[in-house]
């Protein structure tokens, strides 16, 4: 019965395709250039509106500088709702609950992609990518760094998001201090810890290291950026998705993170990425481990007091070898959007190769190989090679068979549970062992209820 139906639907779709093919050829629009494509889009959608729910992010700031070009090209009006990344996920999930179709594009962070796809709030875009009319050749999907397009935009092998900001994490360090005391940047986690201890309090008001560690997701996220050096299951087992938070490897990682941040400013347990970055660029910390996407703020003399005396090295190696974060943001299309095709057109324009330079020049976080290898741009930003080097370490983690953000629905929740208990260990409310055991128990209980 089932097979019969499948056969029937196969036959029907074959017929449909056969019927459509001539008509496509007959009316195949000219989309070979951006202008021609724009005219084609305009003929279909002129006068319509597109609503975006996005986070406050440099990539979005960059797009705000040139989205009007898309409006002019196509006669479509684009509205941005910009909110902070902390509430973006909740707001999008509530929208997903209501299925009200208020938005046509969500910006979704890498860690939330499995949850959004798992809960069927966003749609796969493989069909769009395969369709030569919807995705013109000049878009050049292959030019997106595979680490990003595959690493953060997919779940269960399905492409659901187009990266608008890819990032790995690396260590920023103060070259003036390292020279003054004759130190080398850290290659291993042991060296990293030793250096943090060395510089902590070495000078008036100087701390060893600065990282995000505010209770909950922030802390969990900070933890993950060092954990994979010690363990394959930073949050859960990479294949079974069972929590293994009190396994010896993971406990070693927790212990390292707690020890490391004893050399951070004393209120580091309230630091989000924002405070962590501020402490570093205000010269309060000798080292900093966080996102490559924040590099702009570190090397910009108008925001940073250390822009002249900073350099970067990849995430240090640990007992498990090389590792590195893979995170960032994607444009996705909500399942309840009534304008999915138009949304896709907007994504094509904004993230395509032709606008990539405009995007980066306005401060957007690059995701394309052609940008990283562009000599003019690389000359303007000396950190590009450093970022690519850090990315190599992130790829090493993939080679190990581990996905940085576990590809299952509850990554965010597990990360938050981990971050809450590690935070308790940091303020010595719990020992490492207690924190890991209790986190494990709560993770198990949490997943049991699913």
């Amino acid at each position: 019965m089932k097979t019969a139906r499948r056969n029937l639907s196969f036959l029907l779709s074959l017929l449909l395709i056969l019927a459509l093919v001539p008509s496509v050829f007959a009316t195949a629009p000219d989309i070979s250039t951006v202008e021609a494509w724009g005219a084609h889009i305009k003929s279909q959608y002129e006068g319509q509106e597109l609503n975006l729910l996005v986070g406050a992010h440099p990539s979005i700031d960059a797009m705000l500088k040139y989205y009007k070009d898309f409006e002019e090209l196509t006669g479509v009006k684009v509205n941005f709702r910009i909110i902070t990344d902390g509430t973006l996920k909740n707001t999008a999930l509530i929208e997903g609950t209501g299925k009200a179709g208020n938005y046509d594009i969500f910006a979704v962070d890498a860690a939330s992609i499995p949850e959004f796809y798992g809960k069927q709030i966003i749609i796969p875009v493989d069909d769009y990518l395969a369709d030569a009319v919807k995705t013109p050749e000049w878009y050049d999907y292959a030019d997106l760094l595979p680490a990003y397009s595959k690493g953060i935009g997919t779940s269960k092998g399905v492409t659901v998001g187009i990266p608008i900001a890819g990032e790995t994490r690396y260590v920023g360090y103060r070259t003036d201090l390292f020279e003054k005391y004759g130190k080398q940047p850290p290659k291993t986690m042991d060296e990293f810890l030793e250096l943090a201890r060395f510089f902590n309090g070495k000078e008036e008001g100087l701390y060893g290291v600065s990282m995000r560690a505010a209770s909950g997701r922030q802390n969990g996220s900070g933890f993950m950026s060092v954990a994979y050096a010690f363990t394959d299951s930073a949050l859960v087992n990479p294949t079974t998705f069972e929590p293994e938070f009190n396994s010896p490897d993971t406990m070693a990682a927790v212990e390292f993170f707690v020890e490391l941040l004893k050399n951070a400013p004393p209120d580091v347990t309230t630091y989000s990425h924002e405070e962590a970055l501020s402490a570093f660029i205000q010269g309060k910390a000798a080292m900093w481990l966080d996102a490559t996407a924040l590099t702009g703020k570190v090397i910009d003399p108008s925001t940073s007091t250390i822009s002249e005396v900073v350099d970067f090295v990849p995430t240090p190696d640990g007992p498990k070898g090389q590792s590195g974060a893979l995170a960032g943001w994607n444009f996705t299309i909500p399942a309840d959007s009534k304008k999915a095709d138009l949304a896709w057109a907007f994504i094509v324009y904004m993230t395509g190769k032709p606008t990539a330079k405009t995007y980066v020049e306005n401060g957007g976080i690059p995701c394309r190989t052609s940008i990283y290898t562009d000599e003019v741009l690389a000359a303007n930003n000396w950190t590009y090679p450093k970022q690519l080097e850090a990315l190599d370490h992130a790829l090493a983690l993939i080679d190990r068979g581990v996905k940085y953000n576990p590809d299952f629905t509850y990554t965010n929740d597990i990360m938050a549970i981990a971050g809450t208990y590690i935070s308790k260990a940091m303020i010595e409310e719990l020992t490492i062992q207690e924190a890991c055991d209790q986190a494990q128990a709560e993770m198990v209980e949490f997943l049991e209820d699913k």
């Binding site: 902390g86 997903g96 405070e275």
Partner: protein, 308 residues
Amino acid sequence: MSNGVSIHTDKRATSRDLHNTRRYMPFVAPAMVVMVLLVAVPFIAVVLLSFTNYELAMPADSFKWIGLRNYDRLLFGTNKLLYYSLGISVGMMVVATVLQMLIGFFCASLLNRDIKFRGLAIACLLVPIAMTPSIASQIWKLMLNAEFGVINYFLKKLFNFSVVWLDKDNSLPSVLLVNIWSMTPYVTLTLYAGLRSLPLEPYESAVIDGANGRQVLMYVTLPMLKPLILLTLLFRSIDMLKMFDVPYVLTQGGPGNITEFIGLHIYRTGFGVTTLVGRASAISVILIVLVGIISLGMIKLMSSEEKG
């Protein structure tokens, strides 16, 4: 006697007319109907949700009734946060309300003295009331920053020491501090208004009887202000239990869960950390019951005061 806090009916108003439902319905009914419409459905929904496993945006087929499971997990599960959270919320409610009342009363009596520029001082007190809480808390967070906050800058300059305001020892007092900043002006202005409106005769006779300042305060001022003080106390304590903005911005509940007050606990369970709307609803129900008990108690106290 009738005054602002009387909720028992006026004894003088005994004419038949006043009992007539038809007479007062046009006045009372519209507001009540609006309120019931606005609140009943969401409230029932919250109660119902508390018996489900509902998560934000969960696929319909995995949505199910789980009976008392949420309450069981909250009260007897691994995570004992609910007790701690309720504990600090009630503790903070008591401490903050008492401090607000004391400071507020003190400032009100200063204002009530014969001073110049009173209008200007009152205008200053309006600032914390009018400032958008979400922005004001952000500004406080910046001012309290241990490394580059203006408060530590002053402390260093004037007394040569600094405080890590948001670490594990100080984050609760810091939340208290910001709360006192934002809420005390309400108390000050209300009590100042109360003081202004007190009749003069009792004071005159107290002076004739040779009472000293403390006695006047204890036996004249406070008894006359009592109803107002109780009403202020009621509103302040309820607002304290609901407190959300300040810890949400300042600490996000941390470090650890040290500042995870009950409002924040609901948020973090339902939206912020996990997306367990069902369980967050169960916490809400518990909170509503608790607040109900507290305010019922206070209202009883108030009306017995009036009768007595």
